[in-house]
């Protein structure tokens, strides 16, 4: 994969709004952001209700994913360009889920909503509707998804990359600082994990750093890209951002996103937890 296989620039996006075969999809942490103005012709996916099962704690099933994309008017051969607020956290989460269910043509708008807005590019509140499709997904590609037992077995064996902020990693706080601090989990991190906050991979305007800067970042952090890696955060969205960096931009061959992340791991009975700045 190279950068142009993964990302589109805001310039490219603006020139290709409304092009047949390209579907722009907004996915935001703030699920009301789209309603206040979105890219012309973009449809919305609500990550809380449409990318996750409404009852069980899990991502949507293959069948639910098929229903979702059919209802959004997305076909198997469409190029889907995902974008969102908060530096594309949830757009990256959607990107990972699209890849998981085998959608080949999916890219991220580099910089997401933030760069788009800072550039003063057009936003509209026009209602967007696309004729529904009959989408067929592939079976979930579990080579890019880690579950808790594999994570526990990976302690001291595989690369574990905790992409949360240093204060979350050390156990000082339990959630990013724009959210109330939940108390249901124990604070800390998975032993032997290294802490490379997702934010180090992004520029201030939300775009990804250059490939050279990214290689230097993870090289200095001691991440051996030839070894299997599992990335995690709190609920799996920031680690999707890092998953995109490691697997899609840097081309590491075996990178999984642990979407259960700290809200699952920190609630498990009996698993090892490390506090402080880490042992590696």
């Amino acid at each position: 994969m190279s950068r142009q296989d993964v990302l589109v620039t805001a310039d490219w996006a603006e020139k290709n709004l409304g092009t047949d075969g390209i579907v722009f999809v907004e996915v935001d942490e703030d699920t009301t952001a789209y309603d206040g103005g979105h890219l012309p012709a973009a449809v919305k996916i609500n990550w809380t209700t449409e990318l996750q099962d409404p009852v069980r704690r899990d991502i949507v099933s293959k069948e639910q994913f098929e229903q979702l994309l059919s209802s959004k008017g997305i076909a198997e051969d469409d190029l889907v360009v995902l974008y969102g607020g908060n530096n594309n956290w949830f757009a990256a989460y959607a990107y990972w889920e699209f890849k998981l269910y085998g959608h080949e043509g999916v890219k991220l708008l580099d910089g997401g909503r933030k760069k788009w807005e800072l550039d003063g590019r057009p936003l509209t509140t026009d209602e967007v509707s696309r004729p529904s499709t009959s989408y067929t997904a592939k079976d979930a590609d579990l080579s890019i998804r880690a579950f808790r037992d594999e994570v526990v077995d990976s302690i001291g064996v595989k690369n574990l990359v905790d992409v949360r902020s240093p204060d979350e990693f050390s156990g000082k706080i339990l959630a990013p600082a724009h959210l109330p601090q939940e108390q249901s989990q124990r604070p800390g991190h998975i032993p032997t994990a290294i802490n490379v906050p997702w934010s180090k991979a992004a520029n201030e305007d939300g775009t990804f750093k250059s490939d050279d800067d990214l290689r230097e970042l993870y090289g200095e952090a001691g991440l051996d890209g030839s070894q299997p890696t599992i990335a995690y955060c709190r609920i799996g969205e920031r680690s999707s951002h890092t998953w995109v960096v490691l697997r899609e931009l840097l081309g590491h061959s075996d990178v999984k996103n642990y979407d259960g992340s700290w809200t699952e791991y920190g609630s498990l009975i009996g698993v090892p937890i490390e506090l402080g700045t880490g042992s590696r």
Binding site: D30, A33, G85, N86, N87, K114, E117, L118, G120, S165, P166, D167, K172, I173, A175, P176, A177, H178, L179, P180, Q181, P197, S199, K200, E204, D205
Partner: protein
């Protein structure tokens, strides 16, 4: 109270200000609120901690911890920074000027 954070921006139900350290503020350009600025919270080492979009009235809020924090805003009206020290739990307020 010109420029003071909008106290009508209610904290979530159940926020306990005897335990939580809440940082609130307003983004201003030449004294006027800036809607939709991107406000990030940086810790004492300059490390990114969180980012929010300021409301229509320019207001923003973070749930943090005691310590010294830098708030940095990017907007169409310009960029700016402010430093806020929270010496303990409670509501801590600041203004963040961009130019």
């Amino acid at each position: 109270m010109c420029g003071a954070p909008d106290q009508s921006v209610a904290l979530p139900a159940g926020t306990d200000l005897t335990k939580e350290t809440v940082l609130v503020g307003r983004v201003l350009a030449s004294g006027s609120p800036v809607a939709g600025a991107f406000v990030r919270l940086l810790d004492g080492t300059g490390e990114f901690t969180a980012e929010v979009v300021a409301s229509a009235s320019g207001d923003f809020r973070f749930f943090a911890a005691p310590g010294t924090w830098t708030l940095r805003a990017l907007s169409r009206s310009g960029n700016g920074e402010a430093v806020l020290t929270a010496d303990g739990p409670g509501l801590h307020t600041t203004e963040l000027a961009v130019a």
